[in-house]
Subunit: 342 residues, 2 copies
């Protein structure tokens, strides 16, 4: 693999990824291309479909920056079998280009499982990292964010995996959000040291001796409370909490709709309430913050929500550029020897 | 243990349990006593403190229905050691009376861990039940409820435990909410059968062959969506999801406060929004529904939230009476042989 990097960040956007592909991905990529002039944005996917969007939306994009891929991994495809079966898919071709050093970062709102499996397989883990992690940012009560890793549904975790998640997340938060020594909590069912599973008890000891800013166990309510900067958990729990969190807004909307349906006065009140509620929750909109980074690999890979808007795609590209400019992969490599590893 | 039951339900309320004890517990018990005339309500705790509340609040309560207990298990006490050390605590004395057949149900808003440990130890598991469970009701988008078990933080679960949770919850929902053959989903990180841990994969097979109305795996977003009547999970995950859910309201309030603080107009808008938001969320208030039942024991034990209001206490008593009137313990016993057990 060619480790040479251009000074400017070269980002490949998966044109075929997401529920509104190729439209949203193409529009987002074109916007990123015109706004972030120091970077090179590429689109990978079915050329004719990409060109259709450009034409319909009246957008201009350098044709030479379209990378051909004839297949599409659908949102419903099985991750592992589809990356084997669809060698000419936008995800596989895009990551192949990253692997060959032709670009620095891959961004996709496509099939999360396929993106993470293909990224791990093709980009490879950073030496010393036992398992990569998907880190998500949850809004919290303080107006800031609580990072949670792993939300990637990697199961059968070992204490060493959770330590790796903590190291990777700490470096990420420190570099991207300029927060020195971010605090790390271990998600558990009680604050006491011996609580929970063997996994959590053993991870507690590893984190305690890691040199990271580990503050101890935290509970489910500490995520929204913002008690710590980073919450570490096994991918099974993290994925369930993430999906549960994503269902809060539809749930509230449903309840408000039921309320509004009861009377005309209710309808008017609910109408007025909508504005401030939406504004208050603005910062919690994942679109603003783009996708979730897959941390611990030899290159940058960012996975977006299936329903990503053009804005979300653009912000994912921006995040990729930041990670590249701050040389995060190198900083991850350096951190391995530093925290809790001998 | 005297298994004889009076026709009327005799409920012992822990006067010393909860953040606002003895006040809220005493007021709630007195209200229950006057409203549910067919039942006998008792209060267990420090007599002088109970009498003080009765006096201050100008309430009348039959003195002979106060059961003396000189000690209090504090909310912060370690569950297992406190039930051993404080033999004359309201929790231990209350449950002792249930064990001796002097009453039918115990209701407490005290230390959850101590209540569940003492209940399990003193009342004993129903024959054939491998582990009791705490089942919580989550409001859902349809305006109804999704039951989740286990939320009691029982760790190191085996497939058999999860099957027991499913049997107990199904009977409970069927009897208390008159829902025939309630649907059961297994909480997982994907819908596909082989997903998740060995525990979930094995539980899937047990549930599939149980005779219960098992519909397959569900994900974190299905709880608020109301995709199934009952969601079964390991107590570690369930407890984290429960605490996460409990933090949604403080989180939203915090965001609305931040919004209101930004300008006078925002303040006015947020003020108007408060009403409909509160009304829409009314049904989601746990106070209305009382506590969570501890299912699978030889008698009725209901645990309330530490911050239970008098209304919540009263509703816990009401739930206990319902469980008694519908002869739930007997129905649990009968269900053991019926579902997936040989």
């Amino acid at each position: 693999m060619n480790q040479e990097k251009s000074k400017n960040c070269r980002v490949i956007v998966d044109a075929m990824g997401g529920d509104y592909a190729p439209r949203n991905a193409v529009i987002g990529a074109v916007q990123a291309s015109s706004e972030f002039s120091n970077s090179e944005i590429y689109l990978v996917g079915k050329r004719n479909e990409i060109e259709n969007v450009l034409k319909t939306e009246n957008l201009s994009f350098d044709q030479s920056r379209i990378i051909d891929a004839s297949e599409v991994i659908e949102m419903s495809d099985s991750p592992t079998s589809s990356i084997k079966a669809k060698k000419d898919s936008s995800i596989v071709i895009g990551l192949q280009n990253i692997k060959e050093g032709k670009a620095d970062a891959f961004v996709s709102a496509g099939n999360t499982g396929a993106c993470s499996a293909a990224s791990t397989l093709m980009l490879g883990r950073i030496k010393g990292i036992s398992r990569p992690t998907i880190m998500a940012s949850f809004p919290n009560q303080t107006g800031g964010f609580t990072a949670v890793a792993d939300v990637g549904a990697f199961v059968d975790s070992k204490p060493q995996h959770l330590l790796d998640y903590a190291i990777l997340s700490s470096i990420y938060i420190e570099e991207i959000f300029q927060k020195t020594a971010p605090s790390v909590g271990l998600l558990n069912v009680g604050e006491e040291r011996g609580k929970g599973y063997k996994l959590t008890a053993e991870t507690f000891e590893l984190l305690k001796n890691s040199g990271l800013n580990f503050t101890g166990n935290v509970e489910g309510n500490d995520i929204f409370k913002g008690s710590v900067d980073i919450v570490i958990c096994d991918g099974f729990v993290g994925n369930i909490v993430l999906k549960f969190a994503e269902s809060i807004m539809p749930f509230l909307k449903g309840l408000m709709r039921n309320y509004a349906d009861k009377s005309l006065l209710n309808k008017v009140q609910a109408g007025i309430a909508k504005g401030p509620l939406k504004a208050a929750l603005k910062n919690t909109d994942y679109q603003t913050h783009g996708g979730v980074p897959l941390l611990g690999l030899n290159a940058i890979s960012i996975i977006g929500h299936g329903s990503s808007s053009p804005l979300a795609i653009k912000n994912m590209v921006l995040r990729a550029i930041e990670m590249h400019d701050k040389n995060l992969i190198k900083k991850f490599e350096e951190a391995i020897g530093k925290y809790g590893k001998t």
